[in-house]
């Protein structure tokens, strides 16, 4: 029996694909929810960092934001995962589903990167936009929400797409805390057949296909956004 036949037998006939589907679901769940949580955390942090105020309370939150970013960018994701799963969560008596844990940690980690992405996006919006908003009597925060952020997000969609791709690939470390993901599902096949080459090639292809599909999706979104600004009223 050649290697590919061995793989196929284990994957299809002996039910290895159940693991794969479970892994696909977990990978998608962790990456998508991680991105959403990361975006929310990142938006809050970046706005805190940009508030033009020297008030002590604001200063305290700014310091907190700096520390947060330094901590989560300065250590590897695996270490954060292990530290939380085997250290912090048991210490505070929190027992969560491992997938849910992974979602939280991926979200928090992504939040640190996302805050820098969003900050650069906000900084790239011309200051005149904020001034114009303030000059029609609109508050700083309302101008931020209605004028600055929409433009900033449009600027950073390609970078957010990049972050999403990174997250998808990074999910391959969640097997450290016993979560079934795509990588682990193919590892299991190798372990059963004592043949690793084919499963890992297929694994690489699966990641590649997912990433290429996302890339296409991002391009479509970008194109759509560009079009919306050019259409309407002008022939």
């Amino acid at each position: 029996m050649n290697n590919f036949a061995k793989f196929w037998r284990q994957f299809y006939e002996l039910g290895g694909y159940h693991n794969f589907l479970q892994g696909l679901k977990n990978t998608a769940l962790i990456a998508v929810l991680g991105l959403v949580i990361g975006f929310i955390i990142g938006a809050v942090i970046s706005i805190v960092k940009l508030i033009p105020s020297k008030h002590p309370i604001v200063k305290f939150f700014k310091g907190f934001a700096e520390a947060y970013v330094a901590l989560f960018r300065g250590t590897p994701m695996v270490v954060q995962l292990l530290l939380m799963h085997f250290g912090l969560f048991p210490l505070i008596g929190l027992s969560l589903d491992s997938v849910f844990e992974a979602v939280i940690i991926f979200g928090m980690n992504s939040g640190a990167y996302m805050s820098e992405i969003i900050r650069s996006g906000i900084n790239a919006v011309d200051v005149g936009q904020m001034e114009a908003g303030r000059c029609v009597g609109v508050s700083y925060s309302s101008t931020m929400v209605h004028i600055i952020l929409p433009q900033a997000i449009k600027n950073i969609i390609p970078t957010i797409g990049n972050e999403f791709i990174t997250l998808i690939k990074e999910t391959s470390v969640v097997s450290f805390i016993a979560v079934m993901d795509i990588t682990k599902s193919f590892q299991a096949i190798g372990t059963s057949t004592y043949e690793y080459f084919v499963p890992y090639i297929v694994l690489a292809l699966v990641y590649l296909i997912i990433v290429l599909a996302i890339t296409l999706g991002i391009k479509a979104i970008e194109k759509n956004l560009k079009k919306s600004e050019r259409s309407g009223g002008v022939k």
Partner: protein
């Protein structure tokens, strides 16, 4: 005097350690069209931006508007900026909003703020917001037709020419029914053939009695439209008076020198 719209007293502004404005005092009356001229770096733009506190004046400065000292950082400046339009050199139309939304953004925000948090949420459900939005859109369309751009209502700013953008920016300021409009070099970023259309609109406002403060390099325009000219130099008002006085009989050496260069 009760027709004083803006009372400026001891206005100072320091950036880092550089004093950009050194003790400016001036009254701007109802219906005044004030042209602010002077060499670059003399503080005329800073003066304008201090009037609506885009730059916070130094402590101790007094700017009385709406019977309140708006230089005091404890007041809610947003309330008073509603009554004070501003037009920028770079137009600064909201890039993510259509022309009509650019114009209605300020008034609709003011409407929501007037209602307060809970009532403004409720207004989305009881039709109040919709009604206000429709009224503001009609008003915006009327303003747009005044400048001949009603067909651009649904277009985005990026599709407009510089002159069109600036006229929309002026209309956006008008939509707030301001008591005064501040112009920060409104024609400096325009191609020469578009300067006329913008200046004509400003002239039109002047004949309708709008109070305006205009920082400009267009001396001919200042002469024609303004009833008061301020010549700024090194952070002080070096000379002020009617256009006739200033342009025909400049007293200070600096103004003579400045005029000889620009006229």
């Amino acid at each position: 005097m009760d027709n004083v719209l803006l009372h400026v007293e001891h206005l100072k502004k320091t950036f880092e350690k550089t004093a950009v404005l050194k003790d400016i005092s001036i009254d701007i009356l109802q219906g005044d069209v004030v042209a602010v001229i002077g060499p670059s770096g003399c503080g005329k733009s800073t003066f304008l931006r201090c009037l609506n506190c885009l730059e916070d004046p130094d402590p101790g400065s007094i700017i009385v508007f709406d019977d309140v000292n708006i230089a005091d950082i404890r007041i809610d400046i947003n309330e008073h900026r509603k009554n004070m339009g501003m037009v920028f050199q770079q137009f600064n139309l909201f890039a993510n909003k259509t022309i009509i939304d650019n114009i209605t953004f300020g008034p609709l925000n003011a409407y929501k703020k007037k209602l307060g948090f809970f009532k403004s949420i409720a207004s989305h459900f009881n039709g109040g917001y919709k009604k206000e939005k429709k009224a503001q859109q009609e008003k915006a369309l009327a303003l747009l037709s005044r400048i001949g751009l009603e067909d651009k209502a649904k277009a985005y700013p990026s599709t407009l020419s510089g002159g069109q953008k600036q006229r929309v920016a002026i209309v956006r300021a008008l939509a707030m029914n301001p008591k005064v409009i501040l112009f920060d070099e409104p024609t400096s970023a325009l191609d020469p053939e578009m300067v006329g259309e913008v200046l004509n609109l400003i002239k039109d406002l002047a004949t309708n009695g709008m109070t305006m403060v205009i920082v400009t390099h267009e001396m001919g325009f200042a002469k024609e439209v303004a009833n008061k000219v301020l010549f700024f130099n090194e952070g002080v008002i070096e000379e002020q008076g009617s256009p006739d006085e200033l342009f025909k009989n400049p007293k200070s050496e600096r103004l003579k020198e400045f005029l000889s260069k620009v006229l």
